[in-house]
């Protein structure tokens, strides 16, 4: 079942809303990075969101960095949520969001203070700021949703999985509309943890390059209003798999990733030749580059590929949603310009030969509804997820454009 993406809101280092993200994606340079110091004294670059909106007073118990990111996204879709609630029973409006660490940064600060001074910060509330379910609960309260409300947490595939869960709730007739996507915020644990694994780069990440040196952590979020209604862009399907190999390293032959991609094509009922573009997980680690390229060659060898992470960093549990957002921006673009690959141009010759999407690459053929994009997200525990996005196809064509010729994603003030 194709699920319509009625609207979306985004925030990340590329910009504070969909319009700003689009401008950076198509016309700008990758944003500047800031730095975090890890326990061994290294200063490592991260992609940080510079400004965040305060929460309304009524929600101060939820006030933490993660929920501020979520609120920034929600503000961009609030008018669409209000619109759907005019005709939707709130019991059938669900909220399914992904996050890896939720508001862990709030607990980190509280732990420091508790150990140093023996008391909590005044504004610390574990259950509404850090407990994993709090993210979805916060958005449900903002939206007035009374349907199923939960957070999916599978580390770096969290928000991709959340979007497939949301689609499943609509398909299973439990919900008519679901707010889905994901949010993750910078915290000491993830920077130190990935540092301990030796996976962090001291410069901008450089996927598919012979000079790669690992990833940069980022933060951000993207929320989507998913409906059985009509829209320009649809989530056509998705596939999931487990590697059954290792807790922190992917299966080297890419078989787990390939299985998720193959299942996604089957679920979306598309052939490999219909895939125009793959937004790679693309973390710029040697292990990920090698296995993901093998998987792409095995499943969709003719598709363009790119990693968007040098634009936003690895946003962990939000990565799937943010990169899905970039795919949607491209699909809604008149020229269907692709989210292009960012690296130093020195392709690692040990990798299989792939069609890299360079700046300016466009695939207007996707406008017909015949072609689609894939978005890959892979996580610890060999937890793999691939989503399939495309324009309206089949019966969904002509249901939307006739009434909504200017309708595209972003704020109520205008189109992107």
């Amino acid at each position: 079942m194709d699920v319509a993406i009625r609207n979306m809101g985004m925030i990340c280092a590329m910009g504070a809303d969909v319009s700003a993200v689009k401008a950076t994606l198509f016309y700008g340079q990758p944003p500047a990075m800031s730095f975090r110091t890890v326990v061994d004294g290294r200063r490592l670059p991260v992609f940080e969101v510079r400004e965040l909106p305060p929460l309304p007073d009524a929600y101060r118990l939820y006030d933490c960095r993660n929920n501020r990111l979520a609120y920034a996204c929600f503000e961009q879709i609030a008018h669409t949520v209000d619109e759907v609630l005019e005709t939707t029973n709130p019991n059938r409006l669900g909220v399914v969001l992904g996050s890896s660490t939720s508001g862990l940064a709030a607990s980190e600060a509280a732990y420091q203070l508790m150990r140093a001074e023996g008391h909590y910060p005044e504004n610390y509330h574990f259950h509404s700021q850090h407990a994993m379910g709090s993210l979805a609960r916060f958005i449900a309260e903002l939206a007035g949703a009374r349907g199923p409300t939960y957070t999916v947490s599978t580390a770096c595939s969290s928000s991709a999985k959340a979007m497939l869960s949301a689609r499943g709730l609509i398909e299973a007739d439990i919900c008519d509309v679901v707010i889905s996507g994901g949010v993750d915020s910078l915290c000491d644990l993830t920077v130190n943890g990935f540092g301990a694994l030796g996976q962090l780069s001291s410069s901008r990440m450089n996927p598919l390059s012979q000079n790669r040196s690992g990833l940069n952590i980022g933060e951000g979020g993207a929320l989507f209003v998913l409906t059985r209604d009509a829209a320009d862009v649809f989530l056509w399907g998705g596939g999931e798999s487990m590697d059954a190999f290792h807790m922190s390293a992917p299966s080297p032959d890419g078989s787990g990733a390939a299985l998720a991609m193959s299942r996604a094509l089957e679920d979306a009922q598309v052939e490999a030749a219909q895939v125009a573009y793959v937004n790679l997980h693309g973390t710029a680690t040697r292990a990920n580059d090698s296995m993901e390229c093998q998987a792409v060659v095995a499943v969709v060898p003719d598709a363009y590929v790119a990693s968007s992470k040098p634009f936003v960093g690895h946003c962990l549990g939000a990565a799937g949603a943010i990169e899905a957002g970039l795919c949607c921006i491209s699909l809604a673009d008149d020229a269907c310009r692709l989210p292009h690959h960012v690296f130093d141009g020195q392709v690692d010759s040990a990798l299989p030969n792939l069609k890299i999407a360079f700046p300016g690459t466009a695939v207007p053929s996707v406008r017909s509804g015949e072609m689609c994009y894939l978005s890959n997200s892979f996580a610890f525990g060999g937890n793999n997820c691939t989503m399939v996005f495309g324009r309206a196809r089949g019966d969904n064509q002509n249901r939307w454009r006739s009434d909504h010729s200017d309708a595209v994603f972003g704020s109520s003030q205008g189109s992107v």
Partner: protein, 229 residues
């Protein structure tokens, strides 16, 4: 084809001093305050020793009943999709990491890997060579209900034939200012309901618990009292 109902194939659980289904069942029917031993790790004979040694306590709390129920029902553990519902995830490992960072100590790579909420499904995947679907959900007091929703939709949409709903949490460290509970793990096997099933669970009954704060053990208690499982 629309699915009318799902059914419980079997279930089992683990907690300190509740080492098999029979003991867990008796406790559910006659609940009493349970002791908790933070060092308790259930036996997991189906898991290779090296992997078992690396796995977290919470992983073992759900792995043990998972392998028990799949074996008892002659289901290969690689052919069962996984839904893990946990309110707090790997909260004890997380506290260890918070302490390391506070003390400017290096973060243990194993502890970091074992700190992700869905750690248990990763270990089951490796131990069972399971390459199927796995999802992990959390929703405060509605965590079990969220897991039930996931099971329903995976079966309803035909994506899964058999789903194991794994439910588990550890006793929460005092820092998190949450009433401490005992550590436990459950595995409940669901399949599509077949003709003749005595106690099918319809969508109406699933939706009844959609946003209710009912725990897995309380839900099972109600069903045991009605002799439904």
């Amino acid at each position: 084809m629309s699915l009318a109902a799902i059914t419980i194939v079997d279930w089992s659980g683990r907690a300190f001093q509740l080492e098999n289904k029979s003991a867990f069942r008796n406790w559910i029917l006659s609940p009493r305050e349970l002791e908790d031993d933070p060092g308790y790790k259930p036996e997991c004979p189906d898991v290779p020793a090296r992997l078992r040694g690396k796995s977290s306590t919470l992983s073992r709390l759900v792995m043990a009943p998972f392998f028990e129920v799949t074996s008892l029902n002659r289901l290969h553990p690689s052919e069962v999709d996984l839904v893990f519902a946990s309110r707090y995830g790997e909260i004890r490992t997380l506290e260890t990491l918070l302490d390391a960072i506070y003390c400017f100590q290096p973060v243990s790579p194993l502890d970091f890997c074992n700190s992700v909420h869905h750690t248990a499904t990763g270990y089951i995947s490796i131990a069972a060579q399971n390459r199927g679907i796995s999802r992990t959900v959390s929703a405060g007091e509605q965590t079990f209900a969220a897991g039930l929703m996931e099971c329903w939709q995976l079966l309803h949409t035909g994506r899964s034939e058999t789903v194991a709903l794994l439910v588990g949490d550890e006793a929460v460290p005092s820092f998190f200012d949450t009433p401490s509970r005992f550590a436990y793990g459950l595995a409940i096997l669901f399949q599509k309901s077949k003709a003749g099933d005595q106690f099918p669970i319809s969508l109406d009954r699933i939706q009844e618990v959609c946003n209710l704060s009912v725990s897995a053990t309380e839900w099972l208690r109600q069903r045991l009292k009605m002799s439904e499982v």
